[in-house]
């Protein structure tokens, strides 16, 4: 392992692909982060650094639903790619109705899929507009992963469209994510 500083040349013979934390300028591969580089010459040169980063297309996010409208749900993104963001520094995301589910997109009602306060797992599809990132939940493993019922209890999913309150037994509509261990 070699410790490198930003701007320091990376000792690699012939780079074919470039990983994060390094850059190529005037034919010279250099580090752009302070950190250690794996010595394996067959690997793509990269310096990995665990730090909160802004969402990018294809990053998996967790967020809380803050606002609902007939056209979209607004989400405050608090975890990006498994790394939590510092408190109070959430990024704003938006799930448009056509991105909620994969089938029957035209019949979707946002209020039948999300409620305020739900924790949602989603995938960033684009950088979106100035205000928010566009997020999709149109996949089996994406959707609501945590929600409380009107009675205040944590609900459990019974199908991909419904959740049940353990206290009252009432069923509420959500676009549920498929639990990971099933």
């Amino acid at each position: 392992m070699t410790f490198l500083l930003p701007g320091q040349p990376v000792p690699v013979r012939t780079p074919t692909t470039i990983g994060p934390g390094v850059y190529l300028k005037h034919g010279q591969l250099r580090a752009s982060l302070a950190g250690t580089l794996a010595d394996d010459p067959n690997q793509t040169p990269a310096i990995h650094r665990q730090r909160p980063h802004p969402p990018a297309p294809n990053s998996l996010i967790l967020g809380t639903v803050t606002r609902l409208s007939p056209l979209h749900a607004v989400v405050a993104i608090s975890v990006v790619d498994g790394i939590p963001l510092p408190a109070g520094e959430e990024f704003m995301g938006m799930i448009r109705t056509q991105d909620i589910r994969a089938t029957e997109r035209d019949k979707v009602k946002t209020t039948d899929c999300f409620r305020g306060g739900d924790v949602v797992k989603g995938l960033v599809i684009s950088l979106g507009d100035a205000r928010s990132y566009y997020i999709t939940t149109a996949r089996n493993d994406l959707g609501v992963i945590f929600a409380t019922s009107e009675a205040g209890a944590t609900m459990e999913p019974v199908s991909w469209q419904e959740m049940r309150c353990p206290i009252t037994g009432r069923i509420e509509k959500r676009k549920c994510a498929k639990p990971e261990n099933l």
Partner: protein, 258 residues
């Protein structure tokens, strides 16, 4: 805060006032006083410590004798602006502590912190890979705890900001180091103190990335010939290489510690 003390119906005096000076000003000495303990090409010793502010993503504290400042980096966080931008924004704010200067500083923004922030922004901006942070802002807050010459603050501020950015793990093309020089006649002094800059003909501040051997910022004020300016820049660049090894040492020892 209390009510606005400004009342338009009264004749308002200035906020602070000083006794007029009746004596004729002192004769400007023709030469600088001898420096104690260092040559004219020597810079003051630097103490640099990254990671002192725990709640910031990255931070650095720098001390060169009587210039002391702390720098904190937050972000990348979501940009508050309403326009979409493909590149990230680097936001630098400089604040003077009320006790940082010989005369008390009011804890409000004035023109000086902004010009300092602009100079430091110019030194740092081209080193940060802002294209990797679309729609985001990186906030850099610099607090000047003790001030010994504005030029020294610009140079130390750029060094601290660059170290703090590296500590925060923000992608950069290279580390930025900076050094100042004061000129008086044919005499050039590197890393001048406030007293030396006040009695000089002119001042040069150079910021560069020694790893890429490129200059990011040159700031020259006062009356200096082009020839002397170029000589100052060369001397500053030589010192910047020394400062680069100081940053390298502090960052690598920081990395080994945990």
């Amino acid at each position: 805060m209390a009510q606005n003390p400004f009342d338009r119906r009264r004749i308002n005096g200035p906020e602070e006032s000083f006794l007029p000076v009746f004596e004729p000003g002192q004769e400007r000495p023709t030469t600088w006083n001898a420096r104690c303990g260092r040559q004219s090409t020597d810079i003051r010793q630097i103490f640099l410590q990254p990671g002192l502010i725990s709640q910031a993503n990255g931070s650095a504290y720098i001390e060169t004798e009587k210039t002391k400042l702390a720098c904190a980096v937050y972000g990348p966080r979501q940009s508050k602006s309403t326009t979409y931008s493909e590149k990230g924004k680097l936001n630098i704010e400089v604040k003077f502590a009320p006790f940082s200067c010989t005369r008390r500083r009011y804890p409000l923004h004035d023109a000086e912190d902004r010009s300092l922030a602009v100079a430091i922004h110019q030194s740092i901006a081209s080193s940060v890979r802002l294209e990797l942070f679309p729609k985001s802002t990186i906030d850099v807050f610099i607090t000047i705890i003790e001030n010994d010459g504005i030029e020294g603050c610009v140079a130390s501020g750029a060094i601290a900001a660059s170290t703090a950015l590296a500590d925060a793990g923000i992608e950069m093309f290279g580390l930025v180091t900076s050094c100042s020089a004061a000129v008086r006649g044919d005499d050039i002094r590197l890393d001048p103190t406030e007293e030396e800059t006040n009695t000089s003909d002119g001042v040069v501040v150079v910021a560069c990335m020694p790893a890429l051997s490129s200059i990011t910022n040159v700031w020259q004020s006062g009356r200096i010939t082009a020839e002397v300016t170029l000589r100052c820049m060369e001397m500053c660049q030589d010192r910047c290489i020394d400062i680069h090894s100081v940053i390298a040492h502090s960052l690598s020892s920081m990395n080994k510690a945990p």
